[in-house]
Symmetry: C2
Subunit: 210 residues, 2 copies
């Protein structure tokens, strides 16, 4: 089993953190995104979209979506549980994982990919055709990220963790979104006291360094 | 239990189809998206993002992401299985569900929301701040949708169904994406013979009319 990984990439970090929480070690190969190694024929033969991370099982099966890779390991090694125990908890954790991803991580990525020089003409991840960077998308990404901070703070005023009353995959996605947001120079404000309380608790987990 | 629904909305249809495959009936309330009923205080009190569908359980729990609602019902009533049996199948179906959604449905939605007059200043779904429609996003959505058709056809040349060798949630998302694409006047081409074979088989399922 091989995990194609890149140290700094937010999606790759989601998987490494998930594995660290479970104490699972997997052989990894580093792929350099900024230089475009992910778009070279060798890697495209493994993942035609050129996205990272990708997990290749011993039988050759390719699992190429971060959350799906986590789902695989949750099934293979259920403890500690990170995706929920029963129908209701599984659905709620999935809801909040998706919100953190779709409303948070994607918003930051939108601003980041449309503004960072290294991604000129590669504004849309996983798309091989040239895609121009657009200032309007930077502004939209910033607006959506700020909105996500507000939503996350409200949630963390009602719940100790993002997806449940305990640490789950939703916290991994939300925490990585906040770290990623620093790349576009955005952070929660002083008014987001619930985020501050939660951020400190999550940052203290050893697996957060994975 | 109440499902907030809208007959024509692609995401709402995903859930109705999933329920119909399992033979589950849920009380529904119709919310009218084009007139903005989803943005009125009554609905925002249930779903602050103003998105449809939303499932409210008898204990008041709100599940407001389509795929998470499906996940809830898969746990409550596992048969017929639509999300996978073992670790590998679950991960692969999840991968393809996500591809169909992120690379397909979202691409069509990008073009649709940025071009349809009724969504002027509501280009980003689930965002209450005004978001201007942008021609560049229509073009990007069209490019990504065409790319999705090619990817889907390649997949269906290797596999009878999208996520597995049998009908699963990934087929629901992909099929609804193709129907939704007609709203922006895009359809697979004559070269996409694998899509044509699969589309006919899926369209014949009684639950596809849900």
């Amino acid at each position: 089993m091989i995990l194609y990984d890149m140290e700094k990439a937010p999606n790759a970090r989601r998987v490494r953190w998930f594995l660290a929480e479970k104490g699972i070690t997997v052989e990894t190969r580093q792929i350099d995104l900024p230089s475009g190694e992910n778009l070279k024929p060798e890697y495209l033969a493994i993942n035609p979209r050129g996205l990272i991370p990708t997990l290749v099982l011993d039988d050759g099966t390719v699992i190429d979506e971060s959350v799906s890779i986590c789902r695989y390991f949750e099934e293979v090694q259920p403890e500690p549980n990170l995706l929920g125990f029963d129908a209701k908890e599984k659905a709620l954790i999935d809801c909040w994982q998706r919100r953190a991803e779709l409303d948070g991580l994607y918003a930051v990525a939108l601003a980041f990919r449309n503004s960072t020089p290294v991604f000129a003409n590669r504004a849309v991840p996983g798309v091989l055709e040239p895609t121009e960077q657009l200032q309007a998308m930077v502004e939209r990404g910033v607006m959506l990220t700020r909105r996500f901070f507000d939503m996350l703070d409200t949630r963390l005023g009602e719940s100790e963790y993002v997806g449940s009353d305990r640490f789950t995959i939703a916290d991994i996605t939300a925490f990585i979104t906040l770290n990623f947001a620093r790349w576009i120079k955005l952070s929660p404000g002083e008014q987001h006291t619930n985020i501050a309380r939660w951020f400190e608790a999550v940052a203290a987990r050893p697996a957060s360094k994975a």
